[in-house]
Amino acid sequence: MTAIRPPAVATWLLERLTSGPLREALIGDLIEHYTRRPSRFRYWRQVLTAILTTALRDGWRDKLIIVRGALTGCLAFVLFKEGGDAIFYAVGKVVWNWTVEHGFDTLRVLWFSPRYQLPPAIVLTVSCVSSGWMVARVNGSRPAALLACLMMMFFFNGFFFGAGRLGQAYQVGILHVGPYAYLLQAIAFFLLMPFLVLVGGLVRIAKHPANSSLRGWIA
């Protein structure tokens, strides 16, 4: 008889993004629930709500973790972004001269064209992943801190940068003349940035899971 196994990715996320002394029992219950009623959709819904509710509970219990998560995320993001921008700006002239000299036009277009904006995209990706990693590192891999950082990224950076790009898209009349670069950038800011933060946090949490004893439970 083949054992009924729940979706592996969902279980992987569940194991890493839940904390507290009830974590093991909760994971076991969700797996048992799936073996009784095997529905992938239901399992994913149960897992995602379990992650969210336990993170909210931890955040409610220790509000400092929310503040620390959001602050760490923003600070790390700004530092990595400003640092990365400065590096790319510093080497920009060298790259320009080198690509002209050696005839690497494609690289020059990718690097300097406002349409592609390769360096800012690289800086942004690294900044988001690094800030997620830093949040998990500084706050002991606690999912509540990562959630706070995600919310901050989504609402602050997403709206700040994403709305700016939408404004630019409107200004250049993108719907009539194309390309959709600004529109794609806006979507990236809204959705991709929080996702990259989550990836960075998960990289850290996967190696160093959260301390499961937030407070003492009677065994």
């Binding site: 909760l26 709500t49 336990t54």
Partner: protein
């Protein structure tokens, strides 16, 4: 009356605990509530409620043995305490007092 107030869902969890007796852990608790309400219950919410109830001293828990169908993870059995039982009684009394004398709620039809 004690200071802690039971929410609607917490009351359901406590009643399910009393009903299930020694077999009360996450899955049967959620199934008992599902049967009575007819709606899907999220296990994460059940655990957050149990966590708060335990924090307030209304329930205690003990670890069971790990089983293969749970991926080798142990069950955690929950039991209602004397304080929890008193709280359920007080909540019932308060609700019954509010219930009495409302003509719209008598007769069993909406």
């Amino acid at each position: 009356m004690s200071r802690e107030v039971l929410g609607n869902f917490e009351l359901m969890v406590l009643l399910a605990l009393i009903r299930l007796g020694d077999e009360a852990y996450g899955v049967p608790i959620s199934e008992a509530i599902e049967e009575s309400t007819g709606r899907e219950v999220l296990l994460g919410s059940v655990y957050v409620a149990l966590d708060r109830l335990q924090e307030n001293g209304f329930v205690t828990s003990v670890m069971g043995d790990p089983t293969p169908e749970r991926g080798g993870r142990a069950k955690r059995y929950f039991h209602i305490t004397g304080k929890g039982l008193r709280q359920v009684r007080e909540t019932k009394q308060a609700l019954t007092k509010l219930w009495k004398g409302i003509p719209e709620l008598s007769g069993g039809t909406a």
